[in-house]
């Protein structure tokens, strides 16, 4: 246990040094007096109707940064998300093909009815969070994370049988996830393709019209701000996150015997 002791004392020394440095003003004023220049630029431009060649048409600055000003960052983070879910599914790839014949009754009737009501409420909150993401705090990531609590509850309370009876199969969820990710990619290059076809100039990840490229997503729907591509990005990200997490949950909540089948034949060289 000497190793642990050395490591713990090293951590204590580092913490004390950091505490002393922070207390004596090593990080400057805490909290700082004002935000950085780049932040005030974003805040000023996000819904500035006077400068429509630089705006994002969204009164919510966080969503505007996530999907417009720094949209490429988020696109590649979505790729990381795709890869992580794919890796988790690959480790248990044979489980999806094994049908579970043992039906579980789930929990008691009271719990089932309460869960049914709560699930509807969760889905409604998730949808409103995702679809209003360009107006109020929220967006695709938040909506997807909230929505994926609902299938988790259903799997625990009703059992996996519930999903099979309602024909919510593995391959359908996989199709929803792949289709929404493909549409996400398509939304980012849609104006570019339109520009090629019509002879105008456009950028990848273009949302609103710029000075040299006049193509644009619609900034308003009737008289409500739509945020241009932000609405579509939020919608597709919502579907991708919710269906991706649901896929992993259906795998992880399988029965123990089904999961062990994955390791069959490993003693013959795995």
């Amino acid at each position: 246990m000497l190793r642990d002791l050395v490591f713990a004392s090293l951590l204590v020394i580092i913490i004390l040094a950091l505490t002393y440095l922070t207390y004596s003003g090593g990080l400057g004023d805490l909290p700082p007096r004002d935000v950085r220049v780049i932040a005030s630029n974003y805040l000023n431009l996000t819904y500035n109707q006077g400068i429509t060649w630089l705006w994002a048409a969204s009164p919510e600055a966080v969503t505007a940064i996530v999907w417009d000003y720094r949209g490429l960052d988020t696109l590649f983070e979505t790729v990381v998300f795709y890869g992580a879910i794919l890796a988790a599914l690959t480790l248990f790839r044979s489980v999806s093909k094994v049908p579970e014949f043992v039906s579980s009754a789930g929990l008691s009737l009271v719990v089932k009815r309460v869960t049914a009501i709560v699930t509807l409420a969760i889905l409604a909150v998730a949808a409103s969070t995702a679809l209003h993401g360009h107006l109020t705090p929220g967006g695709g990531f938040q909506g997807g994370a909230i929505a994926s609590v609902a299938p988790l509850l259903l799997l625990v309370v009703f059992g996996k049988q519930f999903f099979i009876e309602r024909r919510i199969s593995y391959s359908k969820l996989l199709t929803i996830r792949n289709a929404s990710l493909a549409l996400l990619g398509f939304t980012s290059v849609a104006l570019l393709i339109l520009g090629f076809l019509t002879g105008f100039q456009a950028y990848i990840f273009q949302n609103q019209a710029k000075t040299v490229s006049t193509l644009s997503y619609p900034p308003y729907l009737l008289d409500v701000p739509l945020g241009g591509s932000l609405f579509f990005f939020n919608l597709f990200e919502f579907l991708a996150v919710a269906s991706g997490f649901t896929l992993v949950f259906t795998i992880l909540l399988s029965r123990d015997e089904t999961l062990r089948k994955e390791l069959e034949g490993e003693e013959l060289g795995y």
């Binding site: 490591f7 713990a8 204590v12 909290p31 879910i85």
Partner: protein, 143 residues
């Protein structure tokens, strides 16, 4: 409002987060159970995200009312916009942390499946025992 109290409490929050980083790193490195390592790792991840949010905060001053970076007026004049820029906190760290939390969950689910595989394969999740059994196996191979 008491500026000194505000500064002290903010510094207290920062220093508590240093302690959280230290404790969770200790848990990741020196605990032998893989599930315990996973729990400590999620705490570490959340604490680092919290540091990022702390960067974007700014000081309350008399006559200044802070607000989240959401514009509530749908037809803003230049006066409204100036007030919004003055009052709002930094939206950039929030945008980074937002994606980091969801991707962190996806990576954690991947780690969960790996730990399940390890537990089925070795019948234990204790890294010391796993190391010992592998050493025995290598010794048998060599003989």
């Amino acid at each position: 409002m008491d500026i000194e109290l505000i500064k002290f409490m903010f510094m207290l929050t920062t220093i508590s987060l240093y302690f959280n980083v230290a404790i969770s790193l200790y848990g990741v490195v020196s605990k032998t159970n893989l599930v315990k390592k996973l729990i400590a790792l999620t705490i570490f991840q959340d604490t680092v995200n919290m540091f990022t949010i702390l960067i974007g905060y700014k000081l309350w001053r008399p006559g200044l009312l802070l607000q989240p970076p959401v514009l509530t007026d749908l037809s803003p004049t230049s006066e409204t916009l100036r007030e919004f820029v003055e009052r709002s906190v930094d939206p950039l760290p929030q945008a980074f942390v937002l994606t980091a939390v969801v991707i962190g969950l996806a990576v954690t689910l991947f780690l969960t499946t790996i730990i399940l595989h390890v537990s089925y394969h070795f019948k234990t999740v204790n890294v010391d025992e796993i190391g010992r059994s592998k050493r025995v196996y290598i010794h048998e191979e060599a003989v």
